[in-house]
């Protein structure tokens, strides 16, 4: 059996760059730009996409629609990839979507223990805590203790399902619709849907 070559490479090339992170990034950008491999204007466009175009409002739109429209909810739970793509939410790190619905019986929570996989087209760039060692290590073993870090306490008879994103399938949690929201339209409902409620570390806001 071949052996992974990387283990013999004790002299990683990255050590040739300046150690300080901001200088390291600057050096890489300068080298790649000079070689014609990276266009700084493209970097600006990528940053603008994730700062101002793609974020948790996309996911909130999907959740509010699922709360308001039973036909949409059924279709979303059956084939989330196609349904959210119709709303324009498709792309990198959201190629294969599954929506999982919280109920009084079951609470869903999403993690990626091996790296930090996350549904970018619906939620944007993951928050720092999602990428932290503490979340990656603990969410699968003690999800209720992690929920307590977020101030969330579940009823004693609610089961927790933790989804570890080990493949290219990305999971969106549909939080429970809060009570007292019966007359609210989709736009008003969207404001109740937090980023954390769609990862499963939070609940939707109450109006």
């Amino acid at each position: 059996m071949p052996h992974d070559h990387s283990d013999h490479d004790h002299d990683h090339p990255h050590a040739l760059l300046p150690p300080e992170p901001a200088l390291r990034v600057k050096a890489l950008e300068t080298i790649l730009t000079a070689k014609g491999l990276v266009d700084p204007a493209a970097l600006d466009a990528i940053i603008d996409t994730y700062e101002s175009k793609i974020g948790p409002r996309n996911g909130a739109h999907v959740v509010a629609r699922a709360w308001s429209d039973p036909g949409f909810r059924t279709a979303l739970l059956q084939d989330a990839t196609a349904v959210v793509a119709e709303l324009g939410y498709y792309g990198r790190q959201g190629e294969h979507m599954v929506a999982v619905e919280n109920t009084p019986d079951t609470h869903n929570m999403v993690v990626c223990t091996l790296c930090s996989c996350y549904p970018w087209p619906l939620l944007g760039i993951p928050p720092g805590w999602y990428k932290s060692d503490a979340y990656r290590a603990r969410a699968v073993r003690e999800p209720r203790a992690v929920l307590a870090d977020f101030g969330v306490v579940l009823p004693a008879d609610t089961a927790v399902r933790v989804w570890d994103s080990t493949a290219e399938v990305r999971y969106l949690v549909i939080p429970q619709r809060p009570s007292g929201t019966d007359g609210m339209d989709e736009a008003a409902l969207m404001d109740l849907v937090t980023r954390d409620s769609m990862i499963g570390t939070g609940l939707a806001r109450t109006p």
């Binding site: 992974d4 990255h14 950008e29 990198r92 294969h96 091996l114 932290s132 503490a134 290590a137 870090d149």
Partner: protein, 225 residues
């Protein structure tokens, strides 16, 4: 044996610290690191599995001390040299950066929206027939290891090795990371969401009804009684 990235279930990491939804980036260089990584990926010299494995192959002491985007930068520098896109002397500043023929593939600003919106689906046609159906009892490999390359990339976490669960859903046939990360082809095979009772994975589960679900390839699984 596993690497440091495979941390599911580990003890000793302390509390998770929630953050507000903004700011998204905590330093200007974080944005740049993200953008450079995506732009360099568009050159087509590696796939997502190769890049994940490059991060995992950072020295254990570096993986532990580097922040998220520092891991990205270090792995990117390693990949650029490994694929010949940049030389060691260019990286160290001992040689002036020379224009690269690969520049023909440079991601243009005008194409960014399209490239990000297109993504890279991982489902592929496969000749491997599905062996399991939802509801079937399965057991994972006893050891979380790549069966093609010793010490290679795998997506079976150590905490879920040698565990018994049941198939929850079938995702279709997907690229096998254990092959793809080592440029051994797509080797697509059936992929399933498999549910494990928390009591199957942990000595002190928090609740008798809790479960952990993992997406696992068919070759990671055997039938269980």
């Amino acid at each position: 044996m596993t690497r440091l990235h495979d941390m599911g279930g580990r003890y000793g990491d302390g509390p998770v610290v929630p953050e507000p939804e903004q700011p998204l980036f905590h330093a200007p260089w974080h944005k740049r690191a993200l953008a450079i990584t995506l732009a360099a990926g568009a050159l087509g010299k590696w796939n997502i599995d190769v890049s994940r494995h490059a991060r995992e192959c950072l020295a254990a002491k570096d993986y532990a001390r580097f922040s998220y985007y520092e891991k990205w930068m270090a792995a990117l520098a390693d990949l650029l040299v490994e694929t010949g896109a940049v030389t060691r002397d260019e990286l160290s500043g001992q040689a002036a950066p020379a224009p690269s023929p690969l520049g023909a593939k440079r991601l243009a600003a005008a194409d960014v929206a399209t490239v990000l919106a297109t993504g890279g689906p991982a489902d592929r046609a496969s000749t491997v027939a599905p062996r399991f159906s939802p509801g079937d009892a399965v057991a994972t490999r006893p050891i979380a290891a790549n069966m093609l390359v010793d010490g290679g990339h795998t997506r079976l976490p150590a905490y879920a090795a040698g565990a018994r669960g049941r198939v929850l859903r079938y995702h279709g046939t997907h690229v096998l990371p254990d092959a793809s990360a080592h440029r051994l082809g797509d080797a697509a095979e059936p992929l399933y969401a498999v549910a494990f009772p928390a009591s199957e994975l942990w000595s002190h589960p928090e609740h008798p009804r809790d479960e952990v679900i993992l997406d696992l390839w068919q070759s990671y699984l055997e039938p269980a009684a």
